[in-house]
Symmetry: C2
Subunit: 477 residues, 2 copies
């Protein structure tokens, strides 16, 4: 075993010295993803896609509670639509893919493969919305989007990715703002409850907001290398897109008014966050609530009478209790299997051999603590269930500890730069001037992540002028 | 009420005299779909999309039973990939949409928006498959595809549509053939059990098979106007794509061999079939198992004390039993609501008013038979559940009766043409010669749908030569 463990660990780059290579090794070797044939594209393999499906199931339930309905809008957007909102086209034009031929003919108007769907969804909304009685209107779609990026990495930044995008229209700015913040909370709860990922949430600065939004709120997760990953965003679009798309409604006073819209999305990026928040030197570590396989059940001395039968019985019991168990009765050695499921981040391993059966127990090994325990076969479902819950909350605690220890604060700019380069996220005061912020970014590649709190009683850490807010600085994925 | 009914019915074209307009009226007025801004595209609205989600949920469970795993492959396919399989490119080249620019630059190689994904999936499979131990490999993806069509109709034929496409590779032709037929059965069971749609299944002729397949099996549903709709297909691709994509595996004898692949899919077309198989002069009729709303609960005299409270109580009870109920407590009149949910095809309407409460009953009206019944409030869940089951089986019976009465058989070609023009599907003997079949199609627009049985003891209905099989002839959507 020790030898095999060693060999296995050697297959993955060291997490502490080469985090980037570690990430690539882990996602490829655990069969989550592969590179697609076109540069910058990815194939999401079943083990990665099952994680995405668990995110979908969680969010669909939450969206429904918020009165959001799923729908589907066309992928190909007339070029003229993208140009309707001035900031929006500036933000997205450089990275779109363009269909110029279809059905054997050159198209009269070029079609953009959606990089996001505000323009086409708002065009439809303007057709459907006539009166305040039609509001709020709240739809979501699960779909693919294309953004042609120069530098790509599977899950984190790819030319095509999967996401959901929700779009609401409200009758007032206050209601739009409430939607924006409610959905941000839905996202951060999803990361916390399902993925055991704590996040920093708050408003983005003017420089970092969505092209066309009045206000963007972001949710940042901090990876094990101290870099930030924007894990979800929620935009209050005010009347910008309503004006561009002519979404007008007759309000309660009988006056025609532009609607107030919002949009919000999370993507397959979240899978990258999951890997980089929880992984360790042995590979993935998946929190039970999102793990495609929660329990790997491995027979020991499977040729001995009764072992396979007992495993099958346990598998059935766990299945019935909706615990996602994989009974691996393949010809591989137990040691090979231990390594395999450890690398794949399965939260709990159960081993059942002849001696275990004699003693009425199963041996359990936790992925989060490596702790070895004995469970009672006659109470296996309850004990496994309790363990999975404990693993889930322990992983959240570990991730919270990591997040806390990643954070510092300072009033000195050189210290800020040193700290960020030393894998920290740094809280500091800033004047709020976009040019000051841009200068910091250009000089150091350090960006603001989300605003912590508004405060004009301090000095900007960079230019020394009066502060506007306290904001998280960090490096971003 | 009578007046309102009349008005409402007048809003939808007459199903008997103008079926095409009836279809368009129904799908637009029930908020299933709208036209997208680009010609030939559609927006699937929540009421239509919920039907698609129910199909997804059903099929995902069945796919899992068959060992098929969900995954996601890139949408943009290098042009050279499409050209690898000669028949395939010939079949699809005329209708593809082509990305020529991306990220502000002209692409070196044009990218095809997938019309189907055999070429890109097989390219990945060839990388993953090395030995017979890697087989069978079976993946499915839910995604959008684009086929640029000249004549389009929402759900039935659109430039972009949603579908699932499953792709397996097996180690032998026999296993590939088994996959092909198993998946056809999964589809026809889905239509029967979930959608209450009986189908004609069988092999397609050479003329009608998929571009690149060895054998295509089809599932045909017969619409109320007697026209056939190809509702799903399953292809045995033999070694065609394996050779084109170099999918080789080391077989058990240590010899390198090309794999045997299959593909199979159903699409948002199924929603069109659902409308055209079950609809009537008043609009949609949805079988309970697939209906987004199974029960419309409507308060009568809702201002009277206790009515709303009782409705809410019933709603909660039904919800708890996983019955999809909509309690409509809006300001519209009961009559307006009756029409609305009737048009939307909700299988069961429940009315609860002061007198019903006094008598401990709710009034139920079936969409399938218009029958009015009284249910006991103290046993409402069981009685509703029984009724929904009865409606489901009755609707299947009605659809089967329609299918039976749509079918005839003949040995005379003129009779065949008359019968097809008279809304029939006609069983007849054919020689199997592709040229003979093409001539029939050119002259009459009548096509073969699926082969009923092989038989060389008769004469071809058209050319008089020896028959090869008995086949269904009809007009197609």
């Amino acid at each position: 075993m020790a030898k095999q463990d060693k060999q296995f660990v050697n297959d993955i780059a060291d997490i502490n010295t080469d985090f980037a290579q570690w990430y690539t090794d882990v996602i490829l070797k655990t069969d989550m993803v592969d590179y697609g044939p076109v540069k910058g594209t990815m194939v999401i393999k079943p083990y990665g896609y099952a994680i995405w499906e668990n995110i979908q199931n969680y969010l669909n339930k939450e969206f429904k509670k918020q009165g959001v309905q799923n729908a589907y809008f066309p992928m190909l957007i007339p070029e003229s639509f993208l140009k309707k909102e001035a900031e929006h086209v500036e933000g997205f034009a450089p990275e779109v893919a363009v269909v110029t031929y279809a059905g054997g003919e050159e198209l009269n108007e070029k079609l953009i493969v959606r990089p996001t769907s505000e323009t086409i969804i708002c065009a439809m909304y303007s057709k459907w919305i006539k009166s305040y009685r039609d509001l709020p209107l709240a739809m979501n779609q699960w779909c693919n989007v294309v953004r042609w990026e120069k530098t790509t990495r599977p899950f984190l930044r790819t030319s095509e990715f999967l996401w959901q995008e929700g779009h609401t229209v409200q009758a007032s700015m206050a209601d739009a703002e409430r939607d924006t913040q409610t959905m941000l909370k839905v996202y951060s709860d999803c990361l916390r409850n399902l993925m055991a990922i704590p996040t920093l949430t708050g408003r983005k600065t003017e420089n970092e907001k969505f092209a066309g939004a009045e206000a963007t709120y972001g949710m940042e997760a901090v990876m094990k290398d101290g870099k930030c990953l924007q894990a979800g965003t929620s935009h209050n679009l005010g009347q910008n897109f309503a004006k561009a798309s002519d979404i007008k409604f007759l309000n309660k006073d009988g006056v025609l008014e532009y609607g107030y819209s919002t949009s919000w999305g999370v993507s397959t990026r979240l899978i990258g966050a999951l890997v980089m928040v929880h992984g360790d030197e042995r590979g993935l570590r998946l929190p039970p609530n999102i793990a495609p396989i929660q329990v790997a059940l491995i027979p020991i001395a499977s040729k001995v009478d009764g072992v396979v039968a007992k495993c099958e019985q346990v598998q059935e019991e766990l299945n019935k209790a909706d615990i996602r168990v994989k009974f691996d009765n393949s010809n591989n050695t137990p040691g090979w299997k231990f390594n395999e499921y450890e690398m794949k981040g399965v939260p709990l391993r159960l081993e059942i051999g002849p001696r275990d059966i004699e003693n009425g127990v199963a041996t359990a090994v936790r992925r989060d603590t490596h702790e070895k325990l004995q469970l009672h076969l006659n109470n296996i479902v309850n004990e496994v269930d309790d363990l999975l819950k404990d693993i889930q909350s322990n992983m959240l605690r570990q991730a919270e500890d990591n997040l806390q220890s990643s954070m510092t604060e300072t009033d000195d700019f050189n210290t800020l730069v040193d700290d960020v380069n030393n894998r920290k996220v740094v809280l500091a005061y800033h004047c709020g001037d976009p040019e000051c912020e841009s200068e910091i970014k250009q000089k150091t590649t350090i960006t603001t992540r989300v605003i912590h709190s508004y405060d004009d009683n301090h000095k900007c850490i960079y230019c020394g002028k009066k502060s506007k807010y306290r904001v998280y600085f960090g490096k971003q994925y």
